[in-house]
Amino acid sequence: MGVRSGIRHALWIAWKDLLDISRNRMGLVMLILMPLFMMGMVGYIFPSNSGMSNVPVALVNLDAAQGNASLSTKFVAQLNALNNKTGMMDLSTVGSATDVKSNIQNGQQSAGIIIGSNFTSDLKTGKQADVTLVLDQSNPQTASLIETQLTQAIEQMGTQTATYGLNQTYKTPLNYSLAQVAPYNVQTTGIVPGQTTNYFEFVAPGIMGMVVMMSLMTGLPHAISFEREVGTLDGMLAAPVHRMSILGGKVIAQTTRGMMQGIIVLALSIVLFGVVVQGSIALILGILLLGVFSLVGLGVLITSFTSTEETATMIMMTLTFPMMFLSGVFFPISQMPQFMQVIAQFLPLTYTISALRQVVVLGVGVPAISRDIVILFGFGIVLLSAALVAFEHAMKR
């Protein structure tokens, strides 16, 4: 039996598996729906930075001075003007400070702005005017985001007012006045110009890696144990087919399936979630394939040690679940506790995702991710060698 007939056998077995997959309508639908759900879920559950819009905010103006002399009306107008530009808040005016509280308590509003009663008089007598932000403590994440955003907005308004005052009082040019009031102009920029951080762009490569991994890790043991259980594997084993051809065929079929799902995720992130891929698509697919290679061994190893599909699937689930969270799919690894970071280093998926992220978000080429590539290759070779020995042994039981 030559290498050529070995490859031919593997391709025939892969053809059979893919034909089988393609004729399973429900399975095919799930193949597409699964990544869609994943993307949708992750995309909508986690708040993205730019996603703060139309936050319901209660506004109460307690300023004693009203009418033309009131500076608070000016403040409110300024706030409205700013809000019209950003669409950040959904402002509604309420009667009193207690209203603000009760509205937040019953969930009508997420935050409140209270303009102090001495607003105008304080400003006119050269004091700072009080503006109070009321936050919803039951939702710390949103609260802190709103706090940051509102504080920024109000500071910006303060700067505007001060610049204008300087300009009016000393007749200094507006630019100069601005530089006096706010001498530091902070600008943020990513590696890729013109891009702000987008949680989707962080998550999309992770999900891509994860979906391909899950597909392979659950698909492979299923494909082999299932055939063993129903007895069809015996048909191939009793034919003059090399064990490696059977394994190869299975791996080709499952990889194809996984890659298809990966591509669906990629397409969805671009079309539905506005992810801009900075690097080359070919490189992304290449990394996905390498990621598959790094994990195939693990899949085969587990298949070899378990005799039924049920146990194989259970072990796979137990392994893939922590991998999902530890490989930095959803949260950056650097934010994890030290101990977990150490574990993450032993997971091939960590490197797949990190490489994918760098290519998708930062648009780097091969040299920048060479370390990940080498490590993935290493994982692949070590796991696969162990797996082949175990598989050969398992088929003889």
Partner: protein, 340 residues
């Protein structure tokens, strides 16, 4: 040597402490239909699996078609066909696609393969169904495709492991006829395992009776039946409308009685030895107030042979109806199906 299809020498297969196959030695001649007969768990399938290179022997050796199963697995596989207990087919593939897949795995050239598939489909009257998915077939139809799948490579040796299990009587007969014709026409050696005694009797040239991983007897069906007659054992069937447990134990306690089987509500089958055995049994029934409607000596079947040789029934589900003189010592728990 040339006329030997299979030679097994002291084959042993152990699963941990459980000995599934215990030092089996036998030879199968070319062109023979050789039967393995025995209850579930007797080690028939395990033996077949070792001969098909699906499982490696713990000890001993075997040659199949002249090749060693342990060291020349590929060669062995080229010369055999396997119909195992579980169907080797993919439900979502059509009959033709299934056959083509396996044909390709046997490296049959494309054109020859197409002709072979068409020819085999015609033989089993399935050409109309070639392009239908296997999943839509009845069990009988599936089994026909399954059997011709094993014949794609024109094997020298065909293994049929319980080929009629779960089939309706018509399909069963078709498969049996087909097996016979393959053997007649192509001279294919067939190894048949079954627990259906009638099937073994009907098809096999020689039968080895296996129990607890050992060959208890190996001979032609007619010779096997002679074992009983030669051993001076009568098989007596009584039609007694009022069978009671006391009656059964009375017969059992006779010195001439070997085994007593209650076949149904009115029939008892007794294996007994000695010239007076018939009289003794009748006396026992009469003194127990049993009414004998009829009594006759029956031609021993393979089931009787099995019972005689092993002391227990072939079909395990009726084993509890059998009462033997010595409580048959079970060798620990029977392992369900094969452990793999």
């Amino acid at each position: 040597m040339a006329d030997v299809a299979i030679r097994a020498t002291n084959l042993v297969k152990k699963f941990r402490d459980f000995v599934a196959v215990d030092h089996l030695s036998f030879e199968v001649k070319k062109g023979e239909i050789f039967g393995f007969l025995g209850p579930n768990g007797a080690g028939k399938t395990t033996t077949i699996r070792m001969l098909c290179t699906l499982s490696s022997p713990t000890e001993g050796s075997a040659t199949v078609a002249g090749f060693d199963v342990a060291h020349q697995g590929d060669k062995v596989r080229e010369h055999i066909g396997l119909v195992s207990e579980k169907m080797i087919m993919y439900d979502r593939l059509t009959a033709y696609e299934n056959l083509r897949l396996f044909g390709e795995l046997y490296n049959i050239p494309r054109k020859a393969l197409r002709e072979r598939i068409d020819e085999l489909l015609k033989v089993v009257n399935m050409e109309k169904w070639a392009d239908h998915q296997i999943g839509t077939f009845s069990t009988g139809m599936k089994q026909r495709i399954n059997v011709i799948r094993a014949l794609l490579n024109e094997p020298e040796i065909l293994f049929l492991d319980e080929p009629t299990l779960g089939l309706d009587p018509q399909s069963t007969n078709e498969i049996r006829d087909f097996a016979r014709s393959i053997n007649d026409d192509a001279g294919t050696t067939i190894i048949l395992t079954t627990h259906a005694m009638a099937e073994a009797d009907m098809l096999c040239d020689r039968i080895s009776i296996v129990d607890y991983g050992k060959i208890v007897a190996l001979d032609t069906p007619s010779n096997l039946k002679k074992v009983i007659i030669g051993a001076d054992t009568n098989v007596i069937e009584l039609d007694v409308p009022n069978i009671t447990p006391t009656l059964v134990s009375d017969i059992q306690s006779l010195s001439c009685t070997q085994t007593v089987t209650v076949e149904d509500e009115t029939h008892i089958k007794v294996h007994a030895s000695g010239d007076e055995s018939c009289d003794n049994v009748i006396d026992a029934v009469r003194s127990g107030a049993g009414q004998i409607r009829s009594i006759h000596n029956v031609e021993p079947t393979l089931e009787d042979v099995f019972l005689y040789l092993t002391g227990h029934e072939v079909r395990e589900q009726v084993a509890d109806k059998v009462t033997t003189k010595e409580p048959s010592s079970r060798h620990g728990p029977r392992v369900q199906s094969r452990i793999r």
